[in-house]
């Protein structure tokens, strides 16, 4: 009776670590993901959920609380949970149920996050817990993001153990990804601290639906952030994301202002968020608020979850959008989910030569030396080592 397992984690043969997948079906019918068939069997499994006091919440009358992590500001009565399904009010104290309870672990190329200007060709120890603070109708990972944590199998791994595993696998980065890291804020924060103690960086792959105070605090322990900017209209966020655009734009500005490395991804969905006028408005906003050097990747949609009635994005649409964003003055515009497309490569905005050649998650020669174009000396923004 288990639900069909979608294999959204990819092989990591590029990484040279011989990772394979193991799929675990829980009694509830949901499946979770594991790091490697060999290692996964050795990792401890959680028998229940965590009961660690959450950060960033207010206590209200009658033991109600107001969550302060994301812009929803959920008011939660005793025994109830917030929208994310991972935080529960227990007698007037708000608890995170997913601390040390990752349900997905894997070693991925950093290009899969995708981060294109951050340690290219390296791997990231990638993890997620169940839950999400929005409900995108096109979610690729709904079977972990749109479920409650008791509906998947969870590992039991403290932040120090995550950092140790990342160290053992020689990954320079821990990535909080797959579902929505904002909802496992406390765990992400503490993993990042433990990672830094071992010289391992941390990156958050997020929808950016987070309040400014917790974000600012979190940025102190992160090294880079990738934000899924899902559209540039409030109506899309309302109808297809169950969120809001403005707080996401505010979060993006804060990340940039705080000086953290930032990249954007925009999933192009036919007829819903592919209007050229919107792409122009968004590109203009990026230029004004963030500058031309923030990379943005336009990725191809495939029918998924509650949005199965639309076709995959035509490559011609992606190429038109790519040209539009470039013509608006953005320096680093990419196309994703189309392996072999020339817009996967990084080009020098000055001399036009290829700086990083990519095919899917495979990396060719990197022509960046000391953060500069090898051919013309143009400074290339990013974290290169």
């Amino acid at each position: 009776m288990g639900i069909g397992r979608r294999k959204f984690l990819i092989r990591c043969t590029e990484c040279g670590v011989g990772i394979t997948l193991a799929s675990i079906i829980s009694p509830s019918g949901f499946s979770s993901l594991s790091i490697s068939s060999v290692r996964a069997a050795q990792l401890p499994r959680a028998k229940g959920l965590s009961s660690v006091e959450a950060r960033h919440y207010k206590k209200l009358e009658n033991k109600e609380i107001e969550c302060g992590i994301c812009p929803r500001k959920c008011k939660v009565s005793p025994l109830e949970r917030g929208y994310c399904g991972t935080r529960e009010n227990r007698d007037g104290v708000y608890h995170t149920l997913v601390y040390s309870r990752p349900c997905a672990l894997n070693i991925d190329p950093i290009e899969k996050k995708p981060l294109f200007h951050f340690l290219p060709g390296t791997t990231a120890f990638s993890l997620a817990t169940a839950g999400c603070n929005v409900n995108c109708k096109f979610c690729q990972n709904w079977d972990i993001s749109q479920v409650r944590p008791e509906q998947v199998d969870n590992y039991l791994l403290k932040p120090s153990e995550i950092a140790d595993l990342a160290y053992q696998y020689s990954t320079p980065t821990i990535a909080y990804t797959y579902s929505e890291p904002v909802i496992f804020y406390e765990y992400m924060y503490d993993c990042a601290v433990e990672g830094h103690k071992r010289g391992i960086r941390s990156v958050m792959i997020s929808g950016g639906y987070i309040q400014s105070d917790p974000l600012k605090e979190l940025l102190k322990v992160l090294d880079a952030v990738k934000i899924d900017l899902k559209a540039f209209t409030e109506s899309f966020y309302r109808d297809y994301v169950h969120g809001e655009l403005k707080p996401v734009l505010d979060a993006i500005k804060i990340i940039r202002k705080e000086g953290k490395w930032l990249e954007l991804v925009y999933l192009v969905i036919p007829t819903l968020n592919d209007k050229i006028e919107d792409i122009k408005r968004m590109s203009a906003w990026i230029l004004t608020e963030l500058g031309p050097d923030v990379p943005i990747q336009f990725t191809r949609f495939h029918p998924m979850y509650l949005l199965k009635n639309l076709p995959p994005t035509p490559v011609s649409t992606l190429e038109k959008i790519h040209s539009t964003a470039k013509s608006m003055g953005l320096h680093y515009v990419y196309i994703g989910n189309v392996p072999g497309n020339k817009a996967e490569n990084t080009y020098c905005p000055n001399c036009g030569k290829i700086l990083i050649q990519r095919t899917g998650y495979s990396i060719g020669k990197i022509n960046i030396i000391d953060s500069k174009c090898k051919f013309c000396g143009q400074e290339i923004p990013g974290i290169w080592r």
Binding site: N62, E80, G85, R148
Partner: protein
């Protein structure tokens, strides 16, 4: 438009949580309610009208608030006895909730495979959720297999409570326990989500009766138990119209709130507008207009 009947079954001697020795009296109350609702003269015919063929019947209490404010296990026993006394096989009954933990905390004894009515939950072994998404308007969810695969008919068995977001936790809201992602459906006072969830065919078509436990009422600070705003009472509501019974429950809740100096639910910013949505032309789940509801009081 056809009028709906909501029966108010008042006990002359039970106030507050019933005890086991009350079961014969509770059965008498329930029997009178079912007869009135079905316009039949004997209980066997009445139940045959509700459950025309042999099949499995699910009963869904609301056990979120633990022992002090959950649908009464004793009243549940009376419902079971009413059904089995008329020839329904006890092995065809499934009492269920979201989690076994909630059932146990509310005083129900888990019975996964033993003889008699099964008492189990969505998280019981070999239960879980259906593979396919069930969708209606704003809702896209996996439904518990109890509803999709294990039962033919359903009795909704909520308890009357205030709800800090929905305003009213009654019959429609109780079916949040049937979906895998209830936390996604609390925005805007649960409107339209409570109506949309109930409109899923597996719920709408299978639910034949709502029996609302009103022996204890949480009239403020719900849905969890809060002693300060809990009161004992002496009645059960029963209807085959899921909207009408909630409409009557809403009026009762507002009345108790008023008597206790609390603002009405509109002023408290949690008016359960999902009930009006449930009655609209997109849902047609039942009657919300009071002129289309006949309240029938029976005292035993």
């Amino acid at each position: 438009m056809t009028k709906s009947i909501v029966v108010i079954l008042k006990s002359s001697h039970i106030i507050g949580e019933p005890v086991e020795s009350d079961i014969p009296h509770l059965i008498e109350l329930l029997e009178k309610g079912v007869l009135k609702l079905t316009a039949k003269n004997n209980i066997k015919d009445a139940l045959s009208k509700l459950f025309p063929a042999v099949g499995k019947i699910g009963i869904k209490p609301n056990c979120l608030a633990g022992r002090m404010m959950s649908s009464s296990p004793v009243l549940c026993q009376a419902i079971v006895k009413l059904l089995t006394d008329t020839g329904i096989d006890e092995n065809n009954l499934i009492i269920w909730e979201r989690s076994e933990r909630e059932l146990k905390l509310a005083g129900y004894k888990i019975n996964r495979n033993g003889k008699g009515p099964k008492v189990l939950a969505n998280d019981s072994p070999n239960v879980g959720y259906n593979n396919e998404f069930s969708s209606f308007r704003s809702v896209g969810s996996l439904l518990t297999r109890i509803l999709t695969d294990m039962i033919d008919y359903h009795i909704n068995f909520p308890i009357l409570k205030d709800h800090s977001i929905a305003g009213l936790s009654g019959g429609l809201k109780n079916l949040y326990g049937a979906v895998h992602n209830p936390n996604k459906y609390h925005d805007t006072n649960c409107d339209p989500y409570a109506a949309d969830i109930y409109s899923l065919p597996e719920i709408k078509n299978k639910n034949k009766l709502t029996i609302m436990d009103c022996f204890k009422i949480q009239y403020n600070a719900g849905p969890s138990y809060n002693r300060k705003f809990a009161t004992d009472s002496n009645f059960i509501l029963m209807s085959d119209d899921p909207v009408a019974i909630d409409a009557v429950a809403l009026d009762i809740l507002e009345d108790i709130r008023h008597k206790n100096g609390l603002p009405d639910l509109k002023k408290a910013e949690r008016y359960p507008s999902y009930l009006e949505t449930a009655a609209d032309s997109n849902h047609k789940l039942g009657n919300f207009r009071r002129d289309l509801i006949d309240k029938v009081e029976i005292i035993v």
